[in-house]
Symmetry: C2
Subunit: 457 residues, 2 copies
């Protein structure tokens, strides 16, 4: 069928080969990501301060940038067995369609009902909430992947799950909402009348369809004002990258089993959790001087934090209730266009990835969404799986590398992260199929206006 | 975690352990299923007659009830590698939730974009169409699983795919439609103005939302009136059961690898293809006197062909264009209620399964849809995967067996088929979540009226 018939199409680790500890890439970074700052005091956030909002053990993980490995509790490993190990797939059919001498592999995280890698961190966060004796957790969701994953995780531990879903999505994505309800979560359109901030926004902007920033503020208010609740977040934070390192650890173990080594590792980047997780153990080797890989982040041209943002302290949320973080940012007031990759519409980027990019250890590229969907369509027709719009950014990136190999004749080994499936994104595919999908790229003036509102730290 | 920790949660065969031939259970049946009859002549259908409608090799498979094994062509095995082997899962978490001493296994066919087992036969049928030098194939789809699977298969072989989708589904399930379009299929709401039969029905019933019977008639007319096209069908036929035997062959190989043997094997039954495929090799052992298993078909109480139908020759389609088949049937004019398990809303049943039931080799039970969704919800919350409504019939059946074991203390080994995921069925889940789902069970009078219209053969 292809150039390397002894490599199977899919490689699954055996259950006893699955990693038993997460890897914290910050431990191997000489220059660490800058600390989170308390927006009220401007000082580094303390554990005590953070524990009012977040679960205790998750705060410990968040603030620890020296411990390399965190053992994965048995209960979480048991849950992982439902959908992990995920397959490492050799993209023979895509290679054939591209006519490339490159060898393309992808780590596929979509074979679970949440449809993405989000479940890796959701189950960990739910577990620590349960361990702490909490009654429940609150969160926000935009496109719905994170809310779905958290609902599944909370159902497993019989934990109350309150999801504030951006009202526009709540109304346009009723199916995502129903998946969450099937797992027992309560899903509230945001802004709601359940919180002070929600009531204020509804009064000030009657008929608003909401925003992620508002939903975050509602979820945080709900958590801090109810005994036994904490707020949890599905990306951006170091703790989430830690949990997502399971992706990279499994991918690395599977490639070692096959006796192959990637030349370049590619992922899509929104808040950075999947990319951070995929590259973590490989980056660790680079940081320790043991190996050399290229890392490439692919982001939407409509929301280009890594390629056109500034590296500065900024608010993580528009409501300014969360800590300040030093990161590549487009400004907390930046409103990305209605890009269909909802999971990549974030103004900032993980502090860890930002620092790695800043140190020149990671590249970044941006791509228009129509090019992303063309890549997605080719991938679906050749490799079978209909990819999520977010994941398709990584497909596009891998295709660029593979087509470059076609020109040069190089037989590079490419690894990319296929984070999820697009089954709940068919409105976007319909726009592409109908030829009505547009592209929007912010102007320099747009960005300059947004940068002007960055906090002075 | 459970009573048998040396059994992994998921068992995947290695790629070199995947079966290389399909198994034709009819070869081991002493009394064969009755032959298909030509509705015009009343005589058994000949290959020549059938080849006007169906692909040549598929007709050969359909009419061959003596050859036990059909080698799977390499091109199909290559495609299978994209989503096969599928996992055999030990349902540890469901066992725990039920508190049963039973050991529950399921063969999960939902980890592909079509979301179900349908792809196993779709790729085979597309391959034989391509081999025959055809330009394309036509088919009908109701709920959309089969149409999706066929679209994926045709995209792979660059074959034209024309899907007639029941108009009601076309309008209510736009996402299924868009998946098919993404794979390059043309999807036409049925009844359409493209065919004579469609125009007649539209003229006679303005504003009709269509029916599966009408869509079949349109697809057949399209195929026979265009050079280089044939009609393909996703269930009921013996050829489809043959292709679906890959499910049972893999399940049996995986269980043998684990050193376990099922006591009872359970599947949902609509047209019978997944159940026929799952049980085939096990039934072969029974037929050859080598082993003893119980087999249980679970069907909806709203469409109870095996439990309340008659065993007789009937039309396979309401348009009466397809051959007559001897089967358990509710009558070709029977209109099942709007059960959400669209894949099980068929008036008849595979001739092979019907004959096995008639010989007392297979049991059948029916279940109300509200009970099915309660089982589906428990399964989702414990095992993680949100199941298709169709598949959830089998979950319910497995739970009944497991709860019986709880009463008796027996440690039975239960195997069931989890045919697919419910990601495109959230309207049904919403009705269940909202408590607005109803149950409909046909009266004896309803059935008697339908039986009165059976053809006299």
């Amino acid at each position: 069928m292809s150039n390397n018939v002894d490599i199977p199409y899919k490689t699954y680790l055996n259950e006893n080969e699955v990693p038993e500890a997460w890897y914290n890439v910050r431990a191997d970074m000489k220059t660490k990501p800058a600390p989170l700052l308390n927006p009220a005091t401007g000082n580094p956030v303390t554990a005590e301060e953070a524990e009012h909002i977040f679960c205790k053990e998750l705060v410990r993980q968040e603030l620890d940038d020296t411990t390399a490995y965190f053992p994965i509790p048995k209960e979480i490993r048991d849950f992982y067995r439902m959908f992990r190990p995920s397959p490492l797939v050799r993209a023979y059919f895509l290679e054939r369609a591209l006519g490339t001498p490159a060898k393309i592999y992808y780590k596929f995280e979509g074979n679970n009902t949440s449809g993405s890698h989000k479940l890796n961190s959701a189950i960990a966060q739910a577990y620590y909430a349960k361990e702490q004796g909490l009654k429940g957790v609150t969160t926000e969701t935009g496109a719905g992947q994170w809310g779905t994953a958290l609902s599944m995780a909370c159902a497993f531990f019989n934990l109350d799950c309150r999801v504030y879903m951006v009202k526009g999505s709540y109304e346009q994505k009723p199916f995502r909402r129903e998946v969450m309800r099937t797992y027992g979560a309560s899903v509230t359109p945001s802004p709601s009348m359940l919180t002070e901030v929600g009531r204020q926004i509804n009064a000030a902007h009657p008929g608003t369809t909401g925003s992620l920033g508002c939903a975050i503020s509602e979820a945080v208010e709900d958590a801090v004002s109810h005994e036994g609740y904490r707020y949890v977040l599905g990306s951006v934070l170091a703790q989430v990258l830690l949990h997502q390192s399971i992706i990279g650890l499994e991918a690395k173990a599977a490639m070692e089993k096959l006796g192959v080594k990637p030349d370049v590792i590619i992922g899509c980047a929104g808040g950075g959790s999947n990319l951070g997780g995929l590259i973590a153990p490989f980056m660790g080797e680079v940081l320790r001087g043991e190996a050399d890989y290229r890392f490439v982040a692919i982001e939407p041209a409509s929301c280009p934090s890594l390629t056109r943002g500034v590296y500065a302290y900024d608010y993580c949320d528009t409501g300014k209730v969360c800590p300040l973080q030093k990161m590549y940012t487009l400004g907390h007031d930046f409103i990305p266009s209605a890009n269909h990759a909802g999971g990549l519409r974030y103004h900032g980027m993980s502090a860890t990835l930002s620092e790695l990019k800043h140190q020149g250890l990671m590249e970044a590229k941006s791509v228009k969404q129509t090019d992303v969907f063309a890549a997605a369509q080719l991938f679906a027709r050749t490799e079978g799986t209909l990819p999520a719009p977010e994941s398709s950014h990584a497909i596009w990136g891998a295709m660029q590398e593979a087509l470059e190999c076609k020109k040069t004749g190089e037989e590079k080994t490419i690894l990319f992260g296929l984070t999820g499936t697009g089954y709940f994104d068919m409105t976007a595919y319909q726009a592409f199929n109908d030829g009505t999908m547009g592209d929007y790229i912010p102007t320099d003036d747009d960005l300059a206006a947004s940068f002007a509102k960055l906090p002075k730290v």
